[in-house]
Amino acid sequence: MRAFVSFSVLALIVVGLALSLSHVPFGKDRMQVANYYLDHGVADTGATNLVTAVVLNYRALDTLGEVTVLFIASLGLGVFLSWPKKKEGTQEEGKRELPEASLIVRRGSQFLFPLIILFGGYIFLHGHLTPGGGFQGGSVIASAFLLMFLGNNAYRLRHTPLTVTESLAGITFVVVGLIGLGVGGYFLNNFLPKGSMFSLFSAGVIPILYSAIGLKVGAELSGIVANMFESRSER
């Protein structure tokens, strides 16, 4: 019965999608608004990566919303993975069932850690010029912490600095937007000079916003990874 219902629902969707997509031919130019972005994007924003221009200028509010979604996810993880504290069970919490990793893995991960962080920082700082940006950079940073967790059994992440980074970065985003509101009359308006093309200090507020996003996403994802590692599945 259930399989039958699922199958018929799926069949309905497949037919519907196929019929609809036949009217949206692949590879055709059907840009309306996007033409404006392509033509004026660089002049308007100073960012040579037009995806960044869209993400952080024309549709910057989506991005604020999306970092908020991650923020909520990490909050939710914090709620769900913290069991009510019991008196005797507390010292058990640090116990890990994994065997200790070999010296090479441990030293190697410690050696790679700053390099990966640096790489992540590079990715989000150059988000307005090259592919990549805050989300990619942030997830690279989180993967550095993941590596530390995998390589070192005793590795623990302090959550307070993460929380502070997270909220400071979020506040930076909103405050930059509010300054734009005060200076230019629009929320998230660009109020800094756009600079010359292809230089790091160009595109006005975009590098600031992308750094804030990079740090925020990095902190949130690291928090998620840390929470997952430190959680216990049972009381």
């Binding site: 519907g16 009217h23 608004v33 308006n189």
Partner: protein, 491 residues
């Protein structure tokens, strides 16, 4: 310019809470209430201006189809007022009601949920609507399971799975719409859909309605609701039942009316509404055990009624839908807030445990009676006026199908009367098993409940208080070309 703060402030507040919590945990619990009160003030101060003409705010400094824009019209602003008002009351209530740690996370999640709801009713961009919808729904998933007991966790994951399928559908719908029109601004899409292929149009619309319908609890998509609303902490149930599903209904209405001009499917919407109504009321009637579950099923029924009224595609119909939405929000928020502390005092969600409680805590009992009578539709409470206007709007259509639907609504009302009278009977006229008085609710709960009850009576006696705003809001939703013009004309 001030209208932008309606969105910016909640974000700022949500990001501020963790920092404040490091300094003083107690202080951080007050932030949602403060933010919502400020929002309420801003929204009310904008109301006279908005009644004349909607304010269209473009973000990032580019005009309407280029960048995301907000349309602060009578409908959006009216709902934003409702959201910040209920949000404020629930935040005040939550300060003393929530006992489980981590409290500051609870307050952050409440604030983000309200942010999502406010953003959804104000935004004029369909992808932005999706993003705010995700903010709203992720916060609700997390809050549903906040107690971390068996029921809550289960309800949360059930809600999450169904909600995520819904949001994937929304995203597919947006993809099709973008492929069709090349733009994401709702007014711009609305201006372009007329010439599009009907299959494509229908598919995109169905996907979007199914997606938002999960949140709005339209009939086949509402399996999550009774679990989620009954297992969540009561303050959360109040928001979920009073704000979250209403926002979903708003999104469905916005999609159908503004984006697609879907006059062909209005009757379908009404029929789905009636089915939802009947199923909700019958399940509530059969519910003999759990008071919160009973209230949750009653929410399903009321959402069906709202959908039915939205389906009457006239000014009067949409007006009635919005009126019903307001009166349901007030009554259901009151009921959940009141039952929260009652359950806490009695120590059980069982209906039988509530026997004689109305006489033991007379004030709370009276407030509950007000809300219940309003939901049933007894004059002089708000619910009477709203149900009456739904019936009037449906009969004014002079069509056999709508008249038939109204007959079914009356049947559903009879069922509703049945179970709510049973609830009142248990509360007031059943001998209690134990002797002695039960302590009345604390002030932080009594004040919100009293305000809500006072509003229910005030609106019922003097409906003009809100009907002007609702009439403007209704015509704003029905008159599609005016909406398009107000957004795109502002180029």
């Amino acid at each position: 310019m001030v209208a932008t703060l309606l969105i910016a402030l909640p974000f700022l507040g949500a990001f501020l809470i963790p920092l404040v919590a490091l300094a003083s945990k107690k202080l951080s619990h007050y932030i949602p209430a403060v933010v919502m009160l400020t929002n309420l003030g801003i929204a009310l101060s904008l109301l006279p201006q908005v009644m004349n003409a909607p304010i269209v705010i473009s973000l990032s400094g580019w005009s309407a189809p280029i960048a995301i824009n907000f349309v602060v019209g009578p409908l959006g602003l009216g709902l934003a007022i409702l959201i910040s008002f209920i949000g404020f009351l629930v935040s005040v209530y939550g300060i003393s009601y929530i006992h489980e740690e981590p409290k500051e996370k609870y307050h952050m999640l409440v604030l983000t949920l309200l942010t999502g709801a406010t953003g959804m009713v104000l935004t004029g961009d369909i992808f932005n609507l999706f993003v705010f919808f995700e903010i709203l729904s992720l916060s609700s998933y997390a809050l549903t399971g906040y107690n971390r007991d068996r029921g809550g966790t289960e309800a949360a994951i059930k809600y999450l799975i169904q909600g995520s399928i819904g949001s994937s559908f929304i995203l597919i719908g947006i993809a099709l719409l973008y492929g069709m029109t090349g733009t994401l601004n709702m007014a711009d899409i609305a201006a372009h859909v007329a010439g599009a292929d009907p299959t494509l149009l229908f598919m995109a619309m169905s996907l979007l309605i199914v997606g938002f319908g999960v949140e709005a609890a339209i009939f086949p998509l509402n399996a999550w609701l009774p679990d989620a609303h009954s297992s969540a902490p009561s303050s959360v149930s109040a928001i979920l039942s009073g704000i979250a599903i209403e926002t979903g209904a708003y999104a469905v209405a916005r999609i159908v009316y503004t984006v697609f001009d879907g006059h062909g499917i209005m009757l379908v919407l009404s029929i789905l509404g009636v089915i939802t109504l009947l199923i909700g009321e019958m399940s509530a009637f059969r519910q003999k055990d759990d008071i919160k579950r009973l209230l949750a099923y009653s929410s399903v029924g009321q959402m069906g009624l709202i959908m039915l009224a939205f389906g009457i595609a006239s000014d009067a119909g949409v007006f009635a839908a919005l009126f019903q939405l307001v009166s349901h929000t007030l009554a259901k928020a009151l009921l959940f807030l009141a039952s929260g502390y009652i359950i806490y005092r009695v120590g059980s969600k069982k209906l039988s445990a509530l026997a004689g409680l109305g006489r033991k805590m007379p004030f709370t009992g009276a407030m509950i009676a007000v809300a219940v009578l309003s939901l049933v539709g007894v004059p002089p409470f708000a619910g009477f006026m709203s149900k009456f206007s739904i019936v009037r709007a449906a009969l004014a259509q002079h069509s056999a199908s709508y008249t038939g639907l109204i007959v079914l609504v009356l049947v559903a009302t009879v069922i509703e009367v049945g179970y709510f009278m049973k609830l009142l009977q248990i509360l007031f006229f059943t001998e209690a098993e134990t002797e002695g008085r039960v302590k009345e609710l604390p002030l932080s709960a009594l004040i919100p409940i009293t305000i809500l009850a006072a509003l229910i009576i005030a609106i019922g006696v003097y409906p003009h208080m809100i009907s002007t705003v609702l009439q403007h809001a209704a015509s704003g939703l029905v008159q599609r070309s005016a909406y398009i013009q107000s957004v795109l004309g502002a180029l």
